[in-house]
Amino acid sequence: MSAPGGSATGTQGRVYTVGGQDWDEIVAAADQAEDGSREEHLIVNMGPQHPSTHGVLRLILSLDGETVTELRPVIGYLHTGIEKNMEFRTWTQGVTFCTRMDYLSPLFNETAYCLAVEKLLGITDQVPERASVLRVLMMELNRIASHLMAVGTFGMELGATTVFLYGLREREKVLDLFELISGLRMNHAYVRPGGVSQDLPSGALEKLRDFLAVMPRQLDELRKLLDVNPVYLARTREVAHLDLAGCMALGITGPILRSTGLPWDLRKSQPYCGYETYDFDVATRQTCDAYGRYLIRMDEIDQSLRIIEQCVDRLSATRPATDPVMIGNAKIGWPAQLAVGPDGLGNSADHIAHIMSQSMEALIHHFKLVTEGFRVPAGQVYAAVESPRGELGCHAVSDGGTRPYRVHFRDPSFTNLQSVSAMCEGGMVADVIVAVASIDPVMGGVDR
């Protein structure tokens, strides 16, 4: 036996002599195993089916006790071939495909794609203003819904299921508004190249105002659960640290980048859809940790409510009868109008009367646009929007035909998920959950 606090290799392997007050030395000696210390490491698979990995993400962890020494994410479990599918559909039908990529923020996918198509067509200035305001309105509503789900699942994964229920309760209000305006709760093919598919129904502005009146108090309730909760702070402060240099190297955008102190938001820096005319702030924190990202998301919900209020004011001021929501160019704008008829929702009788008996040209346009689609001049374009997770870009290549030649989406979750190794290696296993939740990946966007 050696002196207290030492170790020796005896017949049964390493023997550690503990003398009291020397735990650090024992741990240090244990770490310096002679044979590379890999045998002590446990390989754990947080498989694709897991309650806390935000979808079908597989994390392979190499654990040394509670410390993660190596982390490898495996993706591809939700690969759908959306980009290739879009090559066999017309440009307008592509909207229904791309909307299902990042399924928590479908309107952002649609808008990025439509901005790219409009850039290729060269009609960005001719998109009606009412359509742009509606796009901004729906996008900000979507940002609120997405952040609520992110915060809700964040709480649920840490074990706080009440946060999940609160978040979902507020999200239902937003989904009600989506259903009222676009017809669907999710995966609405609402934003189309040239504008949006339909105008606000009557009563929508009142419902929006009610929503704006109710939300601040509900958000306060949600914040009360988390903001200064000592358990929550202990689990998210100083956890999942990634500084600015790391973000730049790994191409990270969105709340993670803003949590390092850099106020980079495409809505302010490279505005689209008229964002430069709205009054809002960019939420930033300096702490580079998961708690900072949570606070940024809550702040962004407040800012989105501000923008929605401005949108509602603008929409009330305009007169729907004279303000179209789809581009006037009959060779591009989606022709069908929907209206509520005696047997439900369908093509409006006025539109049918117009194309069948009044205008042959309109009939031809309707037929050609629906079967063949419009032709987009050859070229390639990159259009980006600021989605709740970061920069969502669409690289669209056209060969002059009615179908996309190639559409590639630069999804923010795909890039942001690369940083999970940098955030978690050296930390504890429980922090892996926090890190993944603070990145808020949506696997549909990651795998496409």
Partner: protein, 236 residues
Amino acid sequence: MTGPQDEDKAALAGRERLTEPVVRTGMFGTHTTGDTSGYGGLKVRQQPPVPSERPYGSYFDEVADALGGALESSGTSFGEAVERVVVAADELTFHVRREHLVQVCGKLRDEPALAFELCLGVSGVHYPSDAGSELHAAYHLLSITHNRRLRVEVSAPDADPHIPSVVEVYPTCDWHERETWDFFGIVFDGHPALTRIEMPDDWKGHPQRKDYPLGGIPVEYRGATVPPPDERRSYA
């Protein structure tokens, strides 16, 4: 007034156009003798790659000059590294030769006048009709300092689908290059671990190439079948 030189130019342009490969034939998706429209014999040829001429406009000239200066200071000329500069739809694209890709990206990131810190990933495109450079990889770069965007495009032939990897310059391209390898078969030389990322590890083929079928099965519904999307009659 058109003179003899103009006629030569027009004829020359016409002859040049006729040397381009055919990308689409026919109209209305017809391939059989039942086509009476007269458009069945239509041949749409590929547009030749035409470089843009100076001045490019907006900040593009500044970027091109800064890059030229930076490359010159390391002994490469601008024309040697950059094959073609294209300005279209308010976007600047440098078509770079693949041997100089890593050097160009390094300059773009490090030069203070350029400062393209953020790379937004690699996007692969397969042009089977572009003989000799079928596989393209487009890198979208963003400069936060100057609030500018840029696209760098590299091409490689099908016979030799190798492009140097830019992971040392932009580590974010790690997964993006893996994805482009997975879907197009472009081998990125120097990538630390070029493996499949989206498809299962033992998948054969590169799905997003144009010669890979969409897959899919005919859909049966009440006595009829509808063929999968890539085998249907097309009206385009």
